[in-house]
């Protein structure tokens, strides 16, 4: 039996910050792993890959309840906890598995769990850690035998020099808003498995279920329009932009090289470029500016008629884009 613990949110155990390879984009109530991107959260995609790769049971430990919205599988349990590492420790021990995969989100890492487990067995070490070309990743395989010698998951993961598993697949550390945009463009450009959820209407033009695009609106590939979102007449959406679920882009607005997160209204006749918007928050990547737009005719959160988007609307509305540009913690081994 193979178990997996997926940790979402901040660290709560002493030494966790030192152990973790990087910080991630942190929002007020969670992290980027719980935000729907190209129709699906990083958390949802990670769970799917784990289940596909011989993992029998997954425990998701999150510091906020918003992550629970992505859970809809009998092999997956969700546990909210303030001290996510303590809860993860309890769950890891409770699996009684032959090996436990520990994943801490939110970097997006494409790895084959079966290949990782085989590598772990071949190396014969108690702990294996995943690496990419630029440093360690927060993905481990742990033998349960070492649980008895430790008093916490963090000390367990850091207890000995782990075997290094070089991830052959795509890695995006999601440390900054630029990384987030890069993930979107890589996904739309089929440079990774982070593919849009929906139907490819024409090459590079993706529509989620129930998306409405008015006749005179123009979509210039590559773009993604999420489910139940609306694009009004005379709009132009282009250059790798994504409009996530239940968002509305109003008449004549141009969206270029930008991300509109779920449940966001973008007003009439605007020119949105190189930005990430969430409700009434806007982060401009070129200017390096984050601001809250107080004018509801320009930007605002959509609070009613909400679809299940993987996260709660209040979470999106409370996104602190100011926190998006995060300083990286030193990577272990660097």
């Amino acid at each position: 039996m193979i178990g997996a613990v997926v940790i979402v949110g901040s660290s709560g155990e002493d030494g966790a910050e030192r152990l973790l390879s990087s910080s991630t984009i942190q929002f007020e109530h969670g992290c980027v792993a719980c935000i729907e991107l190209l129709g699906r959260t990083v958390l949802g995609r990670t769970i799917e890959e784990l289940l596909r790769g011989r993992v029998d049971s997954v425990a998701v430990i999150a510091s906020s309840p918003f992550a629970s919205a992505v859970i809809g599988h009998e092999q997956v349990g969700f546990f909210a906890a303030q001290d996510v590492w303590q809860k993860a420790w309890e769950k890891a021990k409770g699996f009684h598995a032959e090996a436990v995969i520990v994943v801490r989100l939110g970097a997006y890492v494409e790895f084959d769990p079966a290949d990782l487990l085989q590598f772990h067995r071949d190396q014969g070490k108690a702990v294996t850690r995943a690496w990419s070309d630029d440093g360690s990743l927060d993905v481990w395989v742990v033998d349960p035998e070492i649980f008895a010698q430790n008093n916490g998951l963090v000390s367990c993961l850091g207890s000995e020099d782990p075997a290094r598993y070089l991830v052959p697949g795509y890695v995006n550390r999601l440390e900054s808003a630029r990384d987030l945009r890069q993930l979107i463009t890589d996904g739309l450009g089929a440079r990774c498995h982070f593919r849009p959820q929906g139907t490819e209407l024409r090459p590079g033009i993706w529509l989620g279920h129930g998306a409405e695009v008015e006749r005179t609106a123009r979509l210039v590939a590559p773009v993604y329009i999420g489910r139940a979102s609306k694009i009004a007449d005379q709009c132009l959406i282009t250059r790798g932009s994504n409009v996530e679920s239940n968002a509305k882009v109003d008449y004549g607005t141009v969206i270029e090289d930008s991300t509109v997160l779920s449940n966001t209204y973008v007003g009439i006749g605007l020119d949105l470029s190189h930005s990430i918007v969430d409700g009434d928050n806007l982060l401009h990547l070129q200017h390096g500016v984050s601001l809250k737009i107080s004018d509801p005719v320009v930007l605002r959160p959509i609070r009613d008629n909400r679809v299940r988007s993987g996260v709660d609307g209040s979470f999106l509305a409370s996104l602190k884009v100011r926190n998006v540009a995060m300083s990286s913690l030193p990577k272990k081994g660097q």
């Binding site: 006749g269 605007l270 020119d271 949105l272 470029s273 806007l282 401009h284 200017h287 390096g288 500016v289 601001l291 737009i293 107080s294 004018d295 005719v297 320009v298």
Partner: protein
């Protein structure tokens, strides 16, 4: 209100929104009605600007242009720049890093210094006239 020769420099309020726009326009009104108004709006104190603020800026620009004057922006914060770009008006305004530079830009090309030379097309039409007269 500060003046620097014929160019007037005016501070834009910190919260340039619907509530502040009215006072601002009342203060600026007499100036806009003068002949060839040359105005610099110093935005160094602006912390937030909404659609009413942007509309007021456009209204001021329109009034100055109607009277053969001009309006320039100075010391725009990155936040204000983002708003102006978002609302598609950034390219409409001439913007300078400081008020001094904005004022100097007026002096560099005085309103009276409009070229008195004949426009490029006059040569063509001049030739045509000559041909017509010859025929």
């Amino acid at each position: 209100m500060l003046t620097s020769g014929p160019v007037v420099v005016m501070q834009v309020p910190e919260q340039f929104n619907a509530g502040e726009v009215r006072n601002f326009m009342e203060e600026l009104g007499p100036l806009l009605e003068s002949h060839r108004p040359r105005i610099v709006l110093d935005c160094s104190q602006v912390r937030s600007i909404d659609s009413a603020g942007v509309e007021a800026l456009l209204q001021c620009l329109e009034e100055t242009l109607k009277r053969d004057g001009d309006l320039k922006l100075a010391a725009l914060s990155p936040e204000s720049e983002v708003i102006l770009e978002l609302m598609r008006v950034a390219r409409v305004f001439e913007a300078y890093p400081t008020s001094d530079e904005a004022v100097r830009s007026f002096n560099a090309l005085p309103v009276d210094a409009v070229s008195q030379e004949a426009p490029w097309y006059s040569a063509v039409f001049g030739d045509l006239r000559a041909v017509k007269e010859a025929s």
